[in-house]
């Protein structure tokens, strides 16, 4: 059923009795052309674009729990394309363009809200680094503006301008950045994929691969063995565990990233703001909660929860930046299990095993990449060649030294 105000009104008159499931809860068939492991945003987007853009017929998405139960539902919902390096920026800008048309494409309101992303700077060196970034964005066709302190003050008068340890000197603004409703992205892609015949199979955990020599020909799951022409992994957070079933070691550590939301309040913060002298970023959801976060806890973890030092660090950053939130209460925290790669950038590539493809290493920034990642992974799976904007995301770049290291921290994932 097509969604619109008219269909909603029609259903309202009937007590909303005729709404159908948003996606089919499918049972596994014996074989598929392509199996996507992982029913998060990236996996579902991949399936959607495989069906829609490449006309692949038999596709399954296997999800060990319920769809969107991983990082798709545990992020701070920020979308942006403010990257520095040529390996990254064109990809994220392509993803941003997909966000801009997503609701009409999916006929599902994912609440893409381009209220702006502002990265504050606090020194001349940081200003120049942001200028370099902004210029790189402009070269890739993205929007970027470098603001001075007065312009920032006009936008966000309640920041601490006058008593700060690290005074705000300005910011890099991407007006097209903003937020989207994370769960809706999952549901929208699931609905679109399901309508195009993709089998979305929940509570189906992959336990191994079916191999024929160096070729992967299927997966074993908690719901039986399923044959596949190709298998794509989109299981960020668990990439190493699943790849290990195929005997692969990855350039990835699993870490915990905490995020926080406050009680709902009337509108205070218009867009997304990041603090440049500490690790803190914040936005306000349409429901009114302040959504904020900071650094990863910094140690390997599969626990989906973190500890107090990071909570304190994040709140300190928040109070240093905007002391007006002191009396606003933190309502919930959660921990995402993130794939921290060795240069802080993702991998979308073939693997040494024929028929097995990898989409991994999204660090703490996978949400904004969801449409682009799905688009490019679908391209790779369908055509066996990388999409031009994702061609740098090679698995062998660590061996060859063609790194994409935005922060320059090297092979130290907890510092990216």
């Amino acid at each position: 059923m097509r969604y619109s105000l008219f269909s909603l009104a029609r259903q309202a008159l009937r007590g909303h009795r005729d709404w159908q499931p948003v996606w089919r809860d499918a049972a596994p068939q014996a074989s598929y052309d392509i199996i996507i492991v992982g029913g998060g945003g990236h996996g579902l987007a991949t399936a959607y674009y495989l069906a829609k853009e490449h006309g692949i017929r038999k596709i399954a998405v296997l999800e060990k729990g319920w769809i969107g139960s991983g990082n798709a539902g545990r992020n701070t919902t920020i979308i942006r394309s403010n990257y520095l390096l040529p390996g990254n920026e064109p990809f994220y800008e392509w993803s941003m363009k997909l966000w801009e048309g997503l609701e009409q494409d999916l006929n599902y309101n994912t609440m893409v809200s381009q209220r702006g992303v502002l990265n504050l700077y606090h020194s001349d060196a940081q200003r120049d680094a942001f200028a370099r970034r902004g210029n790189a964005m402009r070269l890739a066709g993205a929007d970027a503006e470098l603001l001075d302190a007065d312009a920032v003050r006009r936008m966000l008068p309640f920041l601490d301008f006058d008593n700060a340890r690290f005074p705000i000197k300005g910011g890099l603004l991407q007006r097209r950045g903003g937020t989207a409703r994370h769960d809706a992205v999952v549901w929208g892609y699931a609905r679109g994929a399901s309508a195009r015949g993709v089998d979305i199979i929940q509570n189906c955990e992959v336990t191994g691969f079916v191999r024929d020599g160096d070729r992967i020909t299927g997966v074993t799951t908690t719901r039986g063995t399923i044959q596949a022409g190709k298998v794509g992994l989109a299981v960020a957070g668990s990439s190493s565990r699943v790849a290990e079933y195929a005997g692969l070691r990855l350039p990835i550590e699993s870490h915990v990233l905490q995020a926080f939301v406050s009680e709902a309040i009337k509108p205070l913060i218009p867009g997304v703001v990041t603090f440049g002298a500490g690790h803190f970023y914040i936005s306000q959801s349409d429901k009114g909660g302040l959504v904020f976060g900071g650094d990863i806890d910094g140690y390997n973890s599969y626990a989906q929860r973190g500890n107090l030092p990071t909570v304190e660090d994040v709140c300190e950053g928040g109070m240093a930046l905007m002391p007006a939130i002191g009396r606003v209460r933190m309502l919930r925290s959660w921990g995402g299990l993130v794939d921290m790669s060795m240069d802080g950038s993702p991998i979308i590539d073939r693997t040494p095993l024929q028929g097995l493809y990898l989409n991994a290493g999204w660090c703490y920034g996978g949400f904004k990449a969801t449409p682009g990642s799905g688009w490019c992974f679908a391209h790779l799976l369908a055509r066996d060649e990388p999409h031009p904007v994702a061609s740098a995301y090679r698995l062998d770049r660590f061996a060859t030294g063609h790194l994409i290291d935005e922060k320059g921290q090297g092979a130290q994932p907890n510092l990216h």
Binding site: P86, A131, K266, C315, I325, V328, R329, G401
Partner: protein, 992 residues
């Protein structure tokens, strides 16, 4: 209406001798010490206190505790305004000011209530299906409207004027909750001598004992709680934290708690914090957090006047307030009958006890008969009716199916109790469904935690006391303290019987999540649309995501979903509870780390002198460094900096370089060790010499640069950049302890121990000769370029290095930090006749750029030694950290951006760092991007701007013209690629 008209003539735990004035929505009222805002409002017959989130339904006070979903207010005014504050937990103080939320223009006449007419449209997730057309309208029209409508209270928008504290504490046994079970546990464990901390949310220990009339050890429960509190307070090993919520469980027996130090006052006393955040490390914990009463889902169950049964008892017994005049009780649980009895005894007319069950214990019926309360078994409430002031009548459906209206202004409801077990799940442990309790009960527990009382499903008083005693004893024993067995406190109540029931079919809205306006119809829609997992249900309907964190709503929503999808409660499970278990002010978690105290400020020993010398300072990591020293008449920084550069290059200048990292390296293998961490050789460095060195990370990229000076065969002093001092120390300790523990070498950071000043310029040697001539020979023969010497100067050890960052004849002198101030004053005094000037980091930067020296802008973690023009330093004779991986093809690609100098074609043009390098005429695209400008400076010597850049094949392109493209600053400058060494390429000045 008479003020205080609902107050009982006697009883309660309030202090009637202390009258307190307060206001709500601008009207003045009076209450008593011991009241909460909620009890005082009810005492004054204020029943309408808020509007709901989505439909703007009138809402009143539903509970008497922290689980309150409806009665949220804005507390205080001005910068201290706190939105979404639960009236049920606000201790009344004189002058308290509270305002209702989410209504306009007033609580009574709220325009938003028109949403009610659209409520058939506003079902769960309606916004996912609409607002898509036209696309541009989302940000401009739809979303702003949604955002304005959403949210509840308003933040002040001003900086929080109060302060917060953080404190660490350690104990043997932490007891969470000071109700019957917690007090019994504290008593048992406290008598053993173990270090006990007892945290309780309330201002008075006792929990339900303060609200119920049951007896313990033969005295009223509240009395017993006072008595036990006194005993505990007398024990030196017991620390009681009242008004303190334990909000989170973390690894290693760490608990987060929030103490509300002065929230019960109008404002904090001078020098008193508002709240104190405790980080408690406990060997054992006893969780005695009680239970939360469950509402019943039926039509119109949200009206002001529909209250939780136990909450009603709290108002009657603790606050001496009648929440209504004509009441009914609706339940499926024995416990709520007590509410009916207490109401009747307090003089409230109880028109009916309506119990969903067909049979109940005979003694309950007997008591009801004695109190002349009509009883309806197998009956339900199907509908409520009301006006602006709330409930006026209910519709009773009897066992025989007949319905009848009952005029009441108070309906006390209870579907039973759910253990408040959030803290048992914070480390990922899941509760288990218990049919016997009709509730989720704790199962696997965090290490060291046990659960006592209602939190463990022991809903009866006697059992809670027994469990508390047993678990308090066990916890103390587990931490090594002997217990002399004492009997558990006694109570003689009966276990509570209940039959679980969740909701009734209803033609009107039956609320599950009151604050978020989630109804039974929303849950049904979620089931229909496939959101059947409890987690999807939560996300789709927002069930349990309001400020009450689903305390009263989750279980009912989950139960309804289980029923709709034919699954058991055990199968469907529950959503995860996550910290904080109760909302915590962000300011409290930040403590004093805000404003200028956000991070520590490091000052060098010469800071005071620099201040006196009119320095402007700049943050360099945690340090403050002098950026420049303006002289009278200089109006802009560029004039000052250019003057400083000219003076250094023509006379002599001094710069505080104490912030650079200094690491003392000693041991017989010190030279071997440095050979392995630097790309160049240091074992061959003669004693009395200094050498520039570069360190790589193991991945082959440059980590840091600096010098190492050798003062003895087994003693080097390594310098690092300011920014990387700690990182290099960690790296070297890693190499020493992890990679090569067999080497005889020791490291210690001495950054803070030495003050160091760079003295540069043609007059540097004369100055030093004047200053030190009597103790050390500074002639070129005795101390040639890169020489170093240790000596004693004015009875203190000192070091002199002949090094230069500026390209001038230069030295660095180091003295112990406590003499840093004296040293800079002595240098300035000795230099006066040579025209010495102090210079700051900007002039330092200009001169290093003029010399083509790399710094942090170039050593940015993505450059190789070869990129920086330092490839020749990479030794072929030895292994060192980073050597192997530096030879990967991606790092040796000749196309890599490499260091080059820049000169603007138009000598007036300004260069800017961060511009990208494009070939002339090339379109500005990512594909055509050939590098970027890393550093820029105005060179006073050359009279124009200069720059350093990393450009593809840069060194091979000297003389080529390119564009420095800088659209974010409207800059587009034509430049020539030149050698990065702009001044004195032969180094004549250096060796002078």
């Amino acid at each position: 209406m008479m003020p205080d008209s609902n107050r009982l003539a006697s009883g309660g735990l309030i202090d009637r001798s202390k009258t307190i004035g307060f206001s709500f929505d601008g009207r003045s009222y009076r209450g008593y010490a011991g009241d909460t805002l909620a009890s005082a409002l009810l005492a004054n017959d204020v029943r309408l206190v808020g509007r709901s989130f989505k439909y703007h339904r009138p809402r009143g006070i539903m509970t008497a505790g922290p689980e309150e979903p409806n009665a949220l207010v804005e507390l205080r005014a001005g910068a201290r305004r706190e939105p979404n504050t639960r009236a049920t937990t606000i201790a009344l103080f004189d002058g308290l000011e509270a305002w209702s939320q989410n209504r306009w223009p007033s609580l009574r006449y709220d325009v938003g209530a028109i949403n009610w007419l659209l409520s058939p449209l506003f079902v769960a997730g309606f916004y996912y299906k609409t607002f898509m057309w036209p696309a541009a309208f989302w940000e401009k029209v739809y979303e702003p409207a949604i955002r304005r409508a959403a949210g509840l209270g308003r933040a002040s928008g001003e900086a929080d004027p109060d302060t917060y504290e953080k404190i660490n504490a350690f104990c043997d046994v932490l007891i969470i909750g000071g109700g019957a079970a917690g007090l019994a546990a504290a008593l048992a464990a406290g008598r053993s001598g173990a270090r006990i901390m007892l945290c309780d949310e309330d201002c008075t220990l006792g929990g339900r004992l303060n609200s119920d009339l049951g007896e313990v050890d033969g005295r009223p429960g509240a009395d017993w709680a006072r008595h036990v509190t006194a005993e505990l307070e007398a024990l030196p090993n017991v620390r009681i934290l009242s008004r303190t919520s334990v909000f989170g469980v973390y690894d290693g027996g760490t608990y987060g708690a929030l103490e509300r130090v002065s929230d019960h006052l109008a404002e904090p006393q001078p020098h008193q914090s508002r709240q104190r955040y405790w980080k408690i490390v406990a060997k054992r914990a006893v969780l005695a957090s009680g239970a939360i009463e469950r509402p019943i889902v039926f039509g119109g169950n949200d009206r002001p006047g529909v209250m939780m049964a136990a909450g009603v008892r709290s108002y009657l017994n603790r606050y001496a307030v009648k929440p209504g005049r004509r009441a009914a009780v609706y339940t499926g649980c024995d416990d709520a009958w007590t509410t009916a009895f207490d109401l009747a005894r307090s003089g409230v007319t109880v028109t009916a006890i309506i119990d969903h069950r067909a049979t109940v214990a005979p003694q309950l019926r007997a008591e009801a008969t004695r109190l002349a309360i009509p009883v309806h078994l197998g009956a339900d409430v199907t509908q409520t009716r009301g006006g602006r002031r709330g409930l006026q009548a209910i519709t009773l459906r009897r066992a025989d199916g007949r319905e009848q209206g009952l005029p009441v202004d108070l309906l006390a409801m209870s579907a039973g109790w759910s253990p408040h077990l959030a803290l048992t799940t914070h480390l990922g442990h899941r509760p288990r469904w218990s049919e016997a309790h009709a509730a989720f009960v704790p199962d696997a527990l965090p290490p060291g935690m046990s659960v006592a009382g209602a939190a463990a499903g022991a809903f009866g008083l006697a059992e809670a006391l027994r469990q508390g005693t047993a678990l308090g004893t066990a916890a103390a024993e587990a931490t090594g303290f002997a217990i002399t067995a004492a009997p558990a406190p006694r109570a003689d109540d009966e276990p509570i019987a209940l039959a679980p029931f969740w909701h009734l079919g209803s033609s009107s809205k039956a609320f599950i999540d009151f604050q978020h306006d989630v109804t039974s119809a929303d849950v049904a829609l979620a089931a229909r649309e496939g959101f059947r997992s409890v987690e999807l249900l939560k996300r789709y309907t927002t069930l349990g995501m309001a400020t009450d964190q689903g305390k009263t709503s989750n279980i009912n929503g989950q139960a309804m979903m289980a029923e709709l999808t034919g699954r058991s409660m055990a199968e469907i499970g529950t959503t995860m509870f996550r910290a904080p278990a109760t909302p915590v002010a962000i300011g409290a978690l930040a403590g004093h780390h805000r404003g200028r105290d956000f991070r520590p400020t490091r000052l060098t020993a010469g800071h005071g002198w620099a201040e006196q010398s009119n320095a402007s300072f700049v943050e360099a990591g945690a340090w403050l460094r002098a950026q420049w020293f303006a002289q009278p008449g200089e109006t802009d920084w560029l004039t000052t900096v250019s003057r400083e550069v000219r003076d250094v290059r023509s006379k002599v200048g001094v710069c505080d370089v104490s912030t650079l990292g200094k690491i003392d390296v000693q041991g017989s293998d010190a030279g071997t060790f440095l050979d392995r961490v630097y790309i160049n050789m240091f074992s061959t460095l003669p004693v009395g010499k200094t050498r520039y060195g570069v360190m790589l990370r193991e991945d082959g990229l440059v980590m840091d640069d600096g010098t190492a000076a050798r003062f003895a065969p087994d003693h080097y002093v390594v310098s690092t950049t300011t920014a990387n001092a700690a990182k290099v120390m960690q790296h070297l300790e890693h190499a020493r302890q992890v990679l090569w523990p067999e080497l005889d070498v020791q490291l210690v950071s001495v950054t803070e121990q030495w003050s160091q000043y760079s003295i540069a310029g043609p007059g540097a040697r004369q100055l030093l000769d004047r200053l030190l001539g009597d103790v050390v020979d500074v002639s070129d023969a005795a101390l040639p370029y890169l020489g170093c010497v240790e000596f004693t100067w004015r009875d203190v050890p000192a070091r002199l290095f002949r090094v230069s960052f500026s390209g001038e004849l230069g030295y660095e002198i180091a003295v112990p930090a406590q003499y840093g101030d004296a040293a800079i004053r002595a240098i300035m005094e000795a230099g006066a006749e040579f025209g010495i000037i102090p210079y700051g980091t900007e002039a330092l930067g200009v001169m290093r750029i003029e010399k083509g020296h790399v710094a942090g802008n170039e050593i940015n973690g993505t450059t190789t030694a070869a990129d920086l023009g330092l490839g020749r330093m990479m030794s072929q004779k030895k292994d060192y950290i980073g050597r192997v991986l530096a030879h990967r093809p991606g790092l040796t690609d000749p196309d890599r951006p490499t260091l080059v100098g820049l000169r603007p074609i138009n000598p007036m043009a300004r260069l800017r760092a961060g511009a990208h390098m494009l070939a002339l005429g090339a379109a500005p695209t990512t594909e055509n991007d050939e590098g970027y400008v890393t550093s820029i400076a105005f060179s006073p010597a050359l009279g124009h701007w200069i720059g350093l850049a990393l450009v593809k094949r840069g060194p091979a392109r000297h003389g080529e013209r390119m564009r420095a493209y800088d659209p974010v600053r409207d800059g587009d400058t034509e430049v020539e690629l030149v050698s990065p060494v702009f001044i004195d390429p032969q180094g004549a000045r250096l060796h002078g």
